[in-house]
Subunit: 506 residues, 2 copies
C-alpha cells in the first residue's frame, strides 16, 4: 500500500500505545471478497453517482429507485418512506437469532454543484484519478477488473458525502455472505434524501415512522474518518444554533468627512460589543452561564481522547496557526461549547472602499453546543450578554423612531438550531459495537466522545431513544461540499471492513 511518509509516521505513532489485534476470519474473508471484486464494487458506486442527487433540483425518484433495486437485489425488504419533501428509503433484513437490531443511517442526496469549478469532468460524470488533485492526480480509464490502487480517487458529487457509505454497506453484506456468513444483528437501513438541505424532514420521518425504525443502535455512516486514516467511531456531535447581530448607525451611509467622528459608527460599536464576548488571553467565552450545563467527560471518554491520534501540531502547520485560541488539544476543545464569528460585514473594503460612515454592521455567529445545552437557552444567554452591554434588542429592522429612541440598538435574529447528542461510551451496546469493530478488524479505532461538527442525530437519540454512534469511513480530504469532491479508494476498502465488523455486533 503506497502511503506518504507523514501518514506512515502518524500511523506508527498512533499505534504505538495501542494493543495489536488479530484480524478475524470473517474480516479476512471480507477483504478477500473485496480484493477479488474491486472493479465491480467501484462500478456499482459509479452507476449510483451518475444519478444527479441535489435535493429539490434533481429527480430524486431515480435515486430512490436505484436504492430500492440495490437493496432488493440483496434480499433486503425495501420501501419508500414518503415525507412532505424528498422521500426516505428504508430497508430491513432480519437475521434469525439476532440479539440486536442495528439501524444504519446515510443520506443519498448531495450538495448543490457548480459545474464550472469541477476540473476535467461534470460532477455527475465520475472519473478516476491516480491521486488527489493536490498531488497532481491524472485521469485514468476505469479498470474492468484487477486490483485498484488504494490511493486512486473517484471524483464525483457524493463520491464521499454520502453515497459511498451506502455502497460500502451493501458490499459489506455481499462480502460476509460470500464466505457463507450472515450479519449477527438484524439490519435496518434508513437513507435520507434532503440532508444537505438541512434535514428538514428528519424529525417528521422519525416521528411518523418511529415504529419501523425501532432499533438498539443507530450507526450513522456520514462524515470523514480521522485524518490519521484509522477507522473512527464518534459517539456524539456538537449541536449548533446561529445568531446574526446587526448594529445601527445612521439610516443611510454618510460621507465620513462631513459626518465621521460625529455620526455613530456601527462598525466600531459592533467591534466593541464582539470584543466583550471572549477573553483574548484564554479563549474562554465570557457570556454568563455559557459553560454552566456542560456535562464533564467520563473517565472512559477522557481515556479515548488520550488514546486518539493528536494531530494538533500537524494541523497547526498545515493551517499556518502559531497557537490555538484556547490552550487545550483540539479533541478536548471540541467538547466545549463554542462561540464563533463566522462573518462580519459593514460598508466596503479594498478597492471598493468608500469614505462613508456605514449605516449598519453585521456579525454572523454560530454557537456550537455540547450534550445537555439547550439551543434556545444558549441563545438567550448571548442575548442577555448583549442587553447587559446597554443594547435594546429587536428582532426586525427598526424604523427611524425606534433608532432615535435607543442609543445602543441591536437586531438579533436566530436560527432554530438543534442540540448535541452524546451516547455514553459506557453503554453496553456502545461497548459491544467497539468490541465488534476492534475485535474483527484487529485495529484499535479512533473513538471520539464528540465530533466537532454538527449532525442532527439527536433525532434518533432524543426522538427515539436509540443510542447512536457515527462510523465515518471517507477520507478527510474529500472536498466535501465543494467542487472536485472525491473518495480515496483505500477508504472505501477499509470502510467495507469496518461496516462489516459493525454488522457482526453480538
Amino acid at each position: 500500500m503506497k502511503r506518504t511518509p507523514i501518514v506512515v509516521t502518524i500511523l506508527a505513532l498512533s499505534l504505538a500505545g495501542a494493543e495489536a489485534h488479530a484480524q478475524s476470519d470473517a474480516i479476512r474473508a471480507v477483504r478477500s471478497y473485496r480484493q477479488a471484486n474491486e472493479a465491480a464494487i467501484v462500478q456499482e458506486l459509479v452507476d449510483f453517482l451518475r444519478i444527479p442527487n441535489v435535493a429539490y433540483q434533481s429527480d430524486m425518484r431515480r435515486n430512490v429507485d436505484a436504492l430500492i433495486e440495490m437493496m432488493e437485489r440483496r434480499g433486503i425488504a425495501a420501501r419508500v418512506l414518503e415525507t412532505p419533501g424528498v422521500p426516505y428509503v428504508y430497508g430491513q433484513l432480519n437475521v434469525p437469532g439476532a440479539r440486536h437490531t442495528v439501524l444504519f443511517y446515510a443520506h443519498y442526496d448531495g450538495q448543490p454543484v457548480d459545474p464550472d469549478r469541477w476540473v476535467g469532468h461534470a460532477p455527475f460524470e465520475p472519473i478516476l484519478r491516480d491521486g488527489s488533485l493536490a498531488v497532481g492526480g491524472e485521469p485514468m480509464a476505469m479498470p474492468a477488473d484487477g486490483a485498484l490502487d488504494p490511493d486512486w480517487r473517484l471524483f464525483a458529487r457524493s463520491a464521499s458525502d454520502d453515497k459511498s457509505p451506502i455502497v460500502a454497506m451493501m458490499v459489506a453484506l455481499d462480502a460476509l455472505r460470500a464466505s457463507g456468513r450472515e450479519p449477527r444483528a438484524n439490519l435496518k437501513f434508513i437513507f435520507e434524501g434532503d440532508e444537505e438541505a438541512g434535514s428538514p424532514h428528519l424529525g417528521y420521518a422519525v416521528q411518523r415512522y418511529g415504529d419501523l425504525l425501532a432499533a438498539d443502535l443507530v450507526v450513522s455512516a456520514d462524515g470523514p474518518a480521522d485524518p490519521s486514516g484509522l477507522p473512527t467511531l464518534y459517539f456524539g456531535a456538537r449541536g449548533i444554533v446561529g445568531a446574526e447581530i446587526t448594529v445601527y448607525g445612521p439610516l443611510r451611509p454618510l460621507h465620513s468627512g462631513h459626518y465621521g467622528n460625529w455620526a455613530p459608527n456601527p462598525a466600531l460599536r459592533l467591534a466593541q460589543l464582539l470584543a466583550t464576548m471572549k477573553d483574548p488571553a484564554t479563549g474562554r467565552v465570557l457570556v454568563d452561564g455559557f459553560y454552566d450545563d456542560v456535562v464533564p467527560l467520563s473517565e472512559r471518554e477522557l481515556a479515548a481522547i488520550a488514546a486518539a491520534p493528536n494531530d494538533d501540531q500537524q494541523q497547526m502547520m498545515e493551517f499556518g496557526i502559531p497557537e490555538p485560541e484556547i490552550d487545550e488539544p483540539r479533541l478536548l476543545a471540541i467538547n466545549q461549547p463554542s462561540l464563533n464569528i463566522r462573518g462580519l460585514r459593514s460598508g466596503w473594503v479594498g478597492e471598493e472602499a468608500r469614505t462613508i460612515v456605514p449605516d449598519v454592521a453585521i456579525a454572523s455567529i454560530d454557537l456550537r453546543l455540547v450534550e445537555a445545552i439547550d439551543p434556545q437557552e444558549q441563545l438567550r444567554r448571548l442575548i442577555r450578554h448583549i442587553e447587559e452591554r446597554g443594547y435594546h434588542i429587536v428582532s426586525e429592522d427598526p424604523d427611524r423612531d425606534m433608532r432615535r429612541r435607543h442609543e445602543r440598538l441591536a437586531k438579533v435574529t436566530t436560527s432554530d438550531g438543534y442540540p448535541a447528542f452524546r451516547t455514553p461510551m459506557d453503554l453496553p451496546v456502545a461497548r459491544e459495537l467497539v468490541a465488534a469493530v476492534e475485535g474483527h478488524t484487529g485495529v484499535s479505532v479512533v473513538k471520539l466522545p464528540t465530533l466537532g461538527g454538527s449532525v442532527p442525530l439527536y433525532q434518533f437519540t432524543d426522538g427515539l431513544g436509540i443510542p447512536t454512534v457515527g462510523v465515518p469511513i471517507v477520507n478527510h480530504d474529500n472536498n466535501q461540499h465543494s467542487p472536485n469532491e472525491n473518495l480515496r479508494l483505500g477508504n472505501l476498502w477499509q470502510g467495507i471492513e469496518t461496516l462489516a465488523a459493525a454488522m457482526l455486533i453480538e
Copy 2:
C-alpha cells in the same frame, strides 16, 4: 420663491441673530441681468453638460475646447495647460488698477456614470424637472424664455459637480458687465480635468504652472453649500489618509464545528483590536498622539461656528441618530481629526453565512486630518497603536512561515493621502473676501473654518502659498457622485450673485 416650511424656519432662525445687510447696486444689477436671461443661462449650462466628461473615458478635448470658447467669448485670455494626464484649462482677465488677483478654481470632469440607474434620461442628456426626485419632480420642456422657478432642477452628470460653478463664474462676469461694471480684481481661472480621478496632476500643474497661477487668493467653487441654503464660505478642509488592516486566522477557512474555539478567529481578533481605538463613552480616539498637533480654533473661527446654522437636531432626525458619537456640535467635531471604520469584511453573513472560522478579517479605515497634522505621521501613530497591542506588522500578505511565527499578525496597507488646509479667517485677504460677499449680497453667509470632507487644496496653500477659500454654491441634496445628479436652479441664481460679489473684492 417657493420654499418648504422647514427651510423657511431654518432661514428665519439662522438669520435671527445676524445683521441685516442691504444688497449692493452691483448685485441688484446682477440679479436683474439673471432674471432677464434665465433660459439662456440654463441653455449655456445644458450645452456644456451634453459633452461627456468622465476623465480617462470621455473625449476630454471637447470639454477643453468648450471652455476655451466660453472664456474667449468673454474676452478672457484662455489656454490649455498640458499635464501627463488630462489637461487643465486656464484663463486670465486683467483689470486696470486692481489691487488683488483672485484665482477661481473648479473642475470640468465628472464622476463615472451608471446609465441604467438614471431615471428617465441618459446622464449626458440633461433634463429639467419641476422638483427633486424625492418630491416626485416631473420632467418638463426646457423653456425658451421667461422666468424659471428656483425649485426646478436640472438633472445631468456634473450638473452640480462641478460644471455649474464654471457657468456661474462666466455669467457673473456677464452680469457685472451688463450694468457697465467690471470685476475689481484681476481674475484667473483654473479648471481641472481629472479631479474625480483623485486629482493626480494637481501637484504637477501647481509646480509646472506656478508662475501663471500666482494670486492673492484662490476661490474654489466645488462642493455643496450649507444645507440651510445660505451662501457658504469654507476656509479649510480636512485632509485624509486611508489604512486597511488585515488580521489572520487559519490559512484557509475552516469548518467551525471541527475547528471553532480552537483555530484563532480573525474576526474576533480584529474586533478586539478595533475596540481599543476609541473610547465608547466619549467618542475620543485612543491612539497615542492622535490629537497632539491640533491647532486650536481662533476666537474668530469659534465665533463663525457659533454664528453658523446648527442643524444637528434636524440631521439627527433625518439620519435616525439618537446621540452623536462625540458630545460636540458637528461643526466643532469636524475640526478634530477622526478615525472612521468605513468597512469590515470577514467570512459571510445573512443568507450567505457559512459555518466557518474565517481565514482573514479586514477593516478599512479613513483618518481625517486637520491643519498641521502630517498624514504619514498620523498613520505611524495608528500603526504604533496596533504594535502596542502585540501585533507584528507586515505590508504584504504573510506566508505560512510568517503566520506561524507571530501569534498576532496584521497587514497594514496605507494610501498616500494628503493634508488638511486652513486659511486663517483673520488674514486681510480672507476678511476682504468676506466683506465683499456679505457687503454686496446683503446676506450674512455661513463661514466654516473647516469643511468636514477632504479636497486637496493644500496644493494651493502649501504648494503656492496662496490663501484659499471655498465658495460652494450647489444644493446639498444634489446626488453628487451618484445617479440622478442635479442642480437646483435657485442655487445657480444665488451662486451667480455670490461669485459676482467675490469678483468685487477690494
